[in-house]
Amino acid sequence: MTIDIQKIRADFTILHTQVYGKPLVYLDNAATTQKPQVVIDAIVDYYTRYNSNIHRAAHHLANLATEAHEAARKTVQRYINAEHNHEIIFTRGTTESINLVAYSFGEAFVNPGDEVIFTMMEHHSNFVPWQMMCERRGATYHVVPFDERGDLRLDILENLLNERTRLVAFNHVSNSLGTVNPAKKIIQMAHQAGAIVLVDAAQAVQHVDHDVRALDADFYAFSGHKIYGPTGIGVLYGKEALLEAMPPYQSGGEMIEQVAVEKTTFNKLPFKFEAGTPNIVGPIGLAAAIDYLTSFNFDEIVAHEDAVLEYGRKKLLEIDGLKIYGNGKKHTSIIPFNIDGVHHYDLGTLLDTRGVAVRTGHHCTQPIMTTLCIEGNVRASLALYNTEEDIDVLVDSIRQVLKLLGR
């Protein structure tokens, strides 16, 4: 291994802070990742040196800001290997990206009697927008279950797909189980049935894979803040022909070509889908994050994260009564667990006082919790800066908490 994790950790000032007088062990990366100094610097540099509104004014600062904003679009395009930079739509995050497709694709392509398929392991943001769209368009939806290990039932997906299926939506990686779904295979199956596919890549784009053309994804959504960038910026990739055929999602400034009383015509891609003054600095911060991430060998990052994941699963399972929920064929970066007789809220609260940040609850995936017959669980989730020492602190802290709870 040639990546130097201690050197990487030095780039993240926040990892060296203390909470409750204890060194922070940050294991809530599936919720949001920390930002390296280069991302913070890029944001400060924008506001310090060239803050200006973009795409319209002719002055110097506006040109600098427009160039940086549009260069960021190209950075995203390269990172996910999109064919055109106008296939990159900037949104607020994965949630807005999915809602945009649910609305605009729905308006253009989904009619009464049509069908949409998503899965039981989706985040609410890739579940509710499709329910709402189906209700609005008079369509029906089907939900693909997962098996006891946490793998999608592709045999059921196969049976559900038919000539009325307009769209299949699924997450490449489950935020709640850590399962890596066989994205390429699912996309092929859907395409064979003539359906369009949306991939929620929020938990995959930084840990597993990020090539939209290798996957042949029609739509691909992710958030900046989970890939070491700022909050409030996300990406929707869509194939050019699809985006061209879809109506605007929101209207206002930026997205128009000509406005007249009789009729308004819309701007070209990507601006058609970016109404109003955009989050100008967001893409600049996101591009800095992508540049940072791509300064390392991605395979080495994956190997490091997988090694820490396997170490973590092994050490956690040594604890009496501890059960890990995600045991799919392939998994990444996320360890969801409970301990017999211990409420997840109690465990999370007491880990917090030891400096260990984990997520507790249902992780916005109530259908998963219902399937597992639990109210919630504890989720430890990794990023490239986590180490086996972090796992050791987690495991030691859990043992201390169990003593405190009288077990």
Partner: protein
């Protein structure tokens, strides 16, 4: 019966002898373990205060302008926190509850459990108690 203010002062004093977080939580957990489970007849959906992470049951009773409360939770820490709330509010005049300034959680450093509306249902429980007190006082 001491007043709401006097009880809060007593709780703050009790916690001042517990400077370490572990000691505070150990005390809360003990309170949770010691407080009797809610009678099955009260463990009904009408009494359930739903939180994102844990559930709290709150049984309410109003007798001659006085509010009586019982509670339970699936989380020991939340049950301990709810037990503290009961010490403060149960058996008090409804009119006093309506006017009460609930400040002890902040002073004992446990306000985080109240401040996030999505976490544990405790804040919702305080609102339920105040709203019940308003009815009871009428």
């Amino acid at each position: 019966m001491p007043t709401i203010q006097e009880i809060q002062t007593q709780i703050i004093e009790d916690f001042s002898f517990l400077p370490e977080w572990d000691e505070r939580y150990a005390y809360l957990i003990e309170l949770g373990q010691k407080s009797p489970p809610l009678d099955e007849k009260y463990r009904i959906d009408d009494n359930l205060v739903r939180g994102c992470q844990s559930q709290v049951w709150l049984a309410r009773e109003c007798r001659q302008g006085v509010v009586y409360l019982q509670t339970d939770s699936d989380s020991l820490i939340v049950k301990g926190l709810a037990a503290l709330l009961l010490q403060v509010f149960s058996g008090q005049q409804a009119s006093a509850i309506r006017q009460a300034d609930l400040h002890f959680f902040t002073e004992i450093g446990l306000n985080q459990h109240l401040s996030s509306q999505r976490t544990n249902g405790l804040m919702a429980m305080v609102e339920e108690i105040k709203s019940f007190a308003a009815q009871c006082a009428d």
